[in-house]
Amino acid sequence: MADSLFSQLVGLSAGALLLSAVFLVWRRTQSGSIRLLSLQGVALATLVALIGVHRANFETFAVALLVLLLKGVLLPVLLTRSALRQGEERNTPFMNPTAALFLVALLAVLAYVVSRPLAILGSGPTTQVIPVGMTLVLIGFLLLATGRHAIAQLVGFLVLDNGIATVAFLTAGGVPLVVELGVLIDVLLVVLILRVLTGRIRDVYGATDLDDLTELRG
């Protein structure tokens, strides 16, 4: 693959990752968030597949397929099902979207500054978009900190995980298949456990608003 085309495509898929994260902060309805998360998973899989094709590495390509299946399809489906069971709740975050969006801009600047030393190390197109992965990590933290419902926090956690995976793929050019498999299954397990937990919380308290859980009940 031509180098310029590769760097262009890497830039575009990194842009899709970034855009989906920004829109996740912006649009906070449950079904919308889950759709954006699935889009982000597809973008991440595209990025990994691009790296695989560029290095002519079959293993990375297999990892891309795994990422696509798990983050693009399976996790969103799981989240949608638990969201459906609980009915569409409007997720009103702790922070109004305008302030959150400006915070995202600040976080992006911060990520850029922080990952500057990393970006200088390499010269390829993949090292240049490392700040995007960092931004994803920070946005994930933001979503985790400001989400009010369990599902919203789960989405934040998955964005955080996507960010970490992005940085890993961009810096190391892919991890061995076994390691990646382990990480992906870990994430899947976490989501499953949290899903069961949300179901239990809802059964006991009627809603998954975590604000209601601050008091002890006898």
Binding site: L12, P97, F102
Partner: protein, 317 residues
């Protein structure tokens, strides 16, 4: 070089004046057809303008010279923008370059003129409209600046003509990350600036949420005609700018008759395509609550800022 640039600027002004009413007519017609109505035809805005220009302006007692001067100022600002933005050719007069900051400040001049016209008669609606218009303008202008700035970083020049010329030379930069982010931000900013659908409903009168229509309520006759034509030209010029940045092909890079003619045809085609697209998307959108508009504009500002960050990021190779 310089005289031809001035002549081209004049040509742009004349062409834009001729085209934009049809552009507005087309947008209304597309909307009407999609909503199952017959529509008044593409030429209706021209007929409206002719009618308004023939009427004497009625000015309420107590209004000042702003009621007559504001519309002219808006018109002058819109015409200057049409001359400065590269629409037909990328050639620019050396005297007044089509610099990004010049264009935005000239745009702002028109915004202020329109807001003053709204305030002048002292009616409740006018004041409300002006206040909203200024709120939106304060949020939009930085976005326009930052978005185009992101495009100017890789080129090293803030002249719009240079930016567009660099895109003709290297078309692959159009689908780059920076350019896409900046264009989305610029698109949202254009919609807000020209009071189009999710921000303001251009088709309603006497609604508590209106912005543009509230400001022009007190104007009539010639004054109203200038205001309407000025606002349409703003929309046309901004759409044209997006068209030039998105699809720069066919624009004249040298002052030759054939190239200019091709640029002219391409400009008309680009404008009509973009306007129809805008109109089709508007059919599917509901107007945003006024208090959620800053959210939309903050979003577009963040996109523009991300574009700037990305442009520095991809520059550091």
């Amino acid at each position: 070089m310089n005289t031809s640039a001035v002549l081209l600027a004049l040509l742009q002004i004349i062409v834009m004046i001729l085209i934009t009413p049809f552009l507005i007519g087309l947008m209304r017609q597309v909307r009407n057809r999609l909503e199952g109505r017959v529509g008044a035809g593409v030429g209706q805005p021209w007929r409206d303008l002719r009618k308004l220009f023939a009427k004497e302006p009625l000015r309420a007692p107590g209004t000042s010279w702003i009621q007559a001067g504001g519309p002219v100022l808006l018109m002058v600002s819109s015409l200057s923008v049409c001359a400065l933005v590269p629409l037909i050719s990328t050639l620019q007069s050396r005297l007044i370059p089509g610099d990004l900051f010049v264009v935005v400040s000239v745009l702002l001049l028109g915004t202020v003129a329109l807001a003053l016209v709204g305030l002048d008669a002292g009616t409740a609606f006018g004041g409300m409209g002006s206040s909203r218009h200024m709120t939106i303008a304060a949020l939009v202008e930085p976005t326009v600046l930052v978005a185009v700035f992101a495009l100017s970083v890789p080129i090293g020049s803030s002249a719009l003509g240079d930016i567009v010329r660099a895109r003709i030379v290297d078309p692959s930069s159009i689908i780059s990350l920076v350019s896409l982010l900046a264009l989305v931000a610029l698109g949202i900013a254009t919609i807000a600036e020209t009071s189009r659908m999710p921000v303001d409903n251009p088709a309603t009168h006497l609604e508590l949420t209106m912005i543009h229509e509230a400001m022009v309520l007190e104007s009539s006759g010639r004054d109203l005609a200038w205001l309407e034509l000025g606002s349409w030209l703003r929309l046309g010029a901004l759409l044209g700018l997006i068209g030039s940045l998105l699809l720069p092909w066919g624009m004249a890079t040298e002052p030759k008759l054939l190239a200019v003619l091709l640029g002219l045809v391409m400009l008309a085609a680009k404008l009509f395509v973009l306007a129809s697209l805008l109109s089709v998307t508007e059919v599917f959108l509901a107007k945003l609550r006024l208090f959620r508009v800053p959210e939309l504009l903050a979003g577009s500002f963040v996109l523009a800022l991300l574009a700037v960050i990305a442009s520095y990021l991809l520059e550091a190779r």
